[in-house]
């Protein structure tokens, strides 16, 4: 099977300048990132089932190439914002497994001090602006991050991810118009995994033959649609949009075809009802982005079975250590409830001391 997919991998995309410029180390790092993400999530799933977390857990397993491939293109003035399926983007921008796992456990050592949970990861120091639970709600924020870059004269862009179901939120359309009207350097990336919860694209979105991203045409906005299995293809496709943002300060709408293996969230009891076991298995066999990338690198003679084993072993070790770290971390004190609500209060400024800010207890 590996062989089969490997040959597909010898695609024109490998020769795209942005890919040709990758060193062997770069390519192995990309593999490592994807493997780390997957093991972080399988571990978080295990811990969720072990009763160590509350709320939701939306897994990205099967989609890793999209976040890792696109974020691998970014530089110091480029920013990232996404929805609630946000673990992969967090690790891709460089957040550590420890603070991410601890956040799932609701521990004080979590990236959001246990306040945000799975859907609400943030790391502004890594240009990562969340982690947003309201479908489509992040799309105006993405335009805003781009607006700020342009306002401050910085050459950068914002990658704003959303799901295929999120395209039916009005705020997204308002954002598209603003982005095109004001030439904002934002790249909207529809991670099209075919379903919004249990609803297939067909049952939720009216669109032309060409696909969901074609909605960009109504705004005269550049758009593209491509498969997400190969990191090369993802990088080649997203790079065009990043350049458009950097060089012309113009927005783009991209649709990347991908697939999630798990349910919408861990609580999804119907994950094999609204789609068949076979459909899922077929994806795993033929389009798994990690297997595909492994085969590609093997093909290129960059990695051996050994290397892969080592990468897996290290990643598993790291993920287990993160779970350990989360287990051993303390929960926040109740006093933390009234912290991080107002900047002025947290910083004990005169404004923060003027008048009553909290009305219970």
């Amino acid at each position: 099977m590996a062989a089969a997919t490997a040959s597909n991998a010898l695609s024109p995309f490998a020769d795209a300048p942005i890919n040709a410029s990758l060193t062997a180390e770069d390519k192995i790092e990309i593999l490592r990132k994807m493997v780390r993400i997957r093991l972080f999530e399988t571990t978080s799933l295990r811990e969720y089932q072990g009763g160590n977390m509350g709320g939701f857990l939306h897994l990205y397993i099967g989609q890793e190439s999209v976040a890792v491939g696109s974020i691998s293109l970014l530089g110091k003035n480029d920013h990232v914002i996404t929805a609630y399926r946000d673990h992969a983007h967090a690790l891709a921008v460089g957040m550590g497994m420890n603070e991410c796992m601890a956040e799932l456990f609701g521990k004080a050592t979590g990236c959001s001090k246990g306040k945000g949970g799975s859907m609400h990861y943030f790391a502004p120091d890594k240009n990562y602006w969340g982690g947003h639970g309201i479908v489509g709600g992040q799309t105006p924020l993405g335009a805003g991050l781009a607006y700020a870059l342009k306002y401050q004269g910085k050459k950068g862009c914002c990658l704003c991810y959303l799901g295929d179901g999120a395209i039916n939120q009005g705020a997204f359309h308002e954002s598209l118009n603003l982005a095109e009207l004001w030439d904002l350097p934002v790249v909207y990336i529809i991670e099209n995994n075919g379903y919004s919860m249990g609803t297939s694209q067909k049952r939720s979105s009216a669109h032309p033959e060409e696909g969901l991203a074609a909605r960009a045409e109504g705004y005269g906005m550049a758009w593209d649609k491509f498969d997400g299995t190969s990191v090369y293809e993802v990088r080649a496709g997203v790079q065009k949009a990043v350049e458009r943002a950097h060089e012309e300060s113009r927005p783009s709408l991209l649709e990347i075809m991908t697939y999630r293996y798990e349910g919408h969230s861990v609580a999804d009891a119907n994950k094999e009802k609204y789609r068949t076991k076979d459909e899922i298995q077929k994806q795993k066999n033929e389009k798994d982005p990690i297997e595909f990338w492994k085969a590609t690198l093997a093909d290129e003679g960059i990695i051996t079975e050994e290397d892969v084993k080592t990468i897996n072993k290290e990643a598993r070790k790291e993920a287990n250590a993160a779970a350990e770290f989360a287990h051993n971390s303390p929960y926040p004190e109740p006093s933390a409830i009234l912290e991080d609500v107002y900047w002025e209060v947290d910083n004990n400024t005169p404004a923060g001391r003027s008048g009553r800010h909290f009305f219970y207890p």
Binding site: G54, G55, G106, K115, H120, Q169, G170, S196, R203
Partner: protein, 331 residues
């Protein structure tokens, strides 16, 4: 004969019966049909009633709720599910303007018999964006009705009445209560064969003489636990009054209770500033001033967005112990 069923089942029974009662009733929402509902409230209804009566909607709350409002003007009786009531915020203009003001602005030529239902609660560790409790917000708007059942029986009796009501009713449930058991009369027990509970009627869920614990939604259950402890440990007989419907509001029952006990505490899971408890406190201020032996106290969620961390969020939301402590300060 009396049966014990869970809150979720009771709701579904109510929905099922109203689908049967009026062919203009249609259930619309995300995942309500083929998926059987994100919280299984509509489980089996699509199988039974089919595509026309139970409809899966895209993630477009402003669009499909606004659509339901328009359809209701022509006699359809849409029952809209919000997977979380927090998502009302993307449909807020439709819910506050089109649903609430079209009747008024047309001089009474229009009415909007729509129900928008779903869970409006914190306590399930889904974070700030998914834990809004807007009962005070919607009840502020004349033209709207707001209902918040705390038991399976109330859930069934009130959803049926809400669907038959000819004004917009915003029906706020709780995911924490969906699995709660309770007695619900079967139709052969009730006259007319329909178990209907009128809006605007509060219920004394527990008799008492020393203090009135007034609440709505899940906070009623918390108050009942507190009342048990107050009696057992402190020999204080607390009366528990459940508003059930926030607007219209049954002020008579509230005032009767307080005029008997002379003390009151309002408990809710909403945020404090301008919460429902503030309205009830100001009501007692204006109408029971001389009957009060102590100030009306309020218990709400801690005044911050919902905290994800399970053990901390548990502290953030009113617990029986918080009620006991606060009540003891005035008894």
């Amino acid at each position: 004969m009396p049966r014990t069923i869970i809150y979720r089942e009771a709701l579904k029974e109510g929905l099922d019966e109203e689908l049967a009662h009026d062919e203009n009733v249609v259930i619309i929402g995300e995942e309500v049909a083929e998926y059987n509902g994100a919280y299984k409230v509509t489980e089996g209804l699509w199988d039974k009633w089919g595509d026309k009566r139970v409809v899966d909607a895209p993630i477009s709350e402003a669009g499909f709720i606004g659509m339901g409002i328009g359809a209701s003007m022509l006699g359809i009786r849409p029952v809209m599910e919000l997977m979380f009531y927090s998502f009302a915020y993307v449909a807020f203009d439709q819910m506050m303007n089109n649903a609430a003001t079209c009747r008024y602005m047309s001089g009474g030529l229009i009415n909007v018999p729509i129900v928008v239902r779903g869970p409006a609660n914190g306590g399930t560790n889904v974070g700030a964006t998914h834990s809004h409790t807007p009962e005070n917000i919607f009840a502020n708007m004349p033209g709207l009705k707001v209902v918040s059942p705390s038991t399976p029986a109330d859930a069934k009796g009130l959803i049926k009445t809400s669907i038959r009501d000819n004004d917009p009713v915003y029906f706020m449930e709780s995911t924490v209560l969906y699995g709660m058991k309770g007695e619900v009369p079967s139709n052969d027990e009730v006259e007319g064969g329909d178990f209907l509970i009128p809006l605007g009627s509060a219920e004394v869920k527990r008799e008492g003489s020393d203090v009135s614990l007034i609440a709505h939604g899940r906070a009623v259950i918390t108050a009942l636990e507190a009342a048990e402890e107050l009696e057992a440990k402190h020999d204080i007989k607390a009366e528990v009054v459940d508003l059930r419907s926030i607007r219209p509001l049954d002020e008579t029952t509230i005032l009767e209770s307080v005029r008997k006990t002379h003390r009151a505490v309002y408990i809710e899971e909403n945020k404090p500033f301008c919460g429902v408890g503030a309205q009830i406190s100001s009501l007692l201020m204006e109408r029971a001033f001389d009957d009060l032996d102590a100030p009306v106290l309020r218990i709400t969620s801690w005044d911050a967005p919902a905290f994800y961390s399970p053990p901390v969020e548990e502290v953030q939301i009113p617990r029986p112990d918080d009620i006991v402590k606060k009540t003891l300060t005035i008894c």
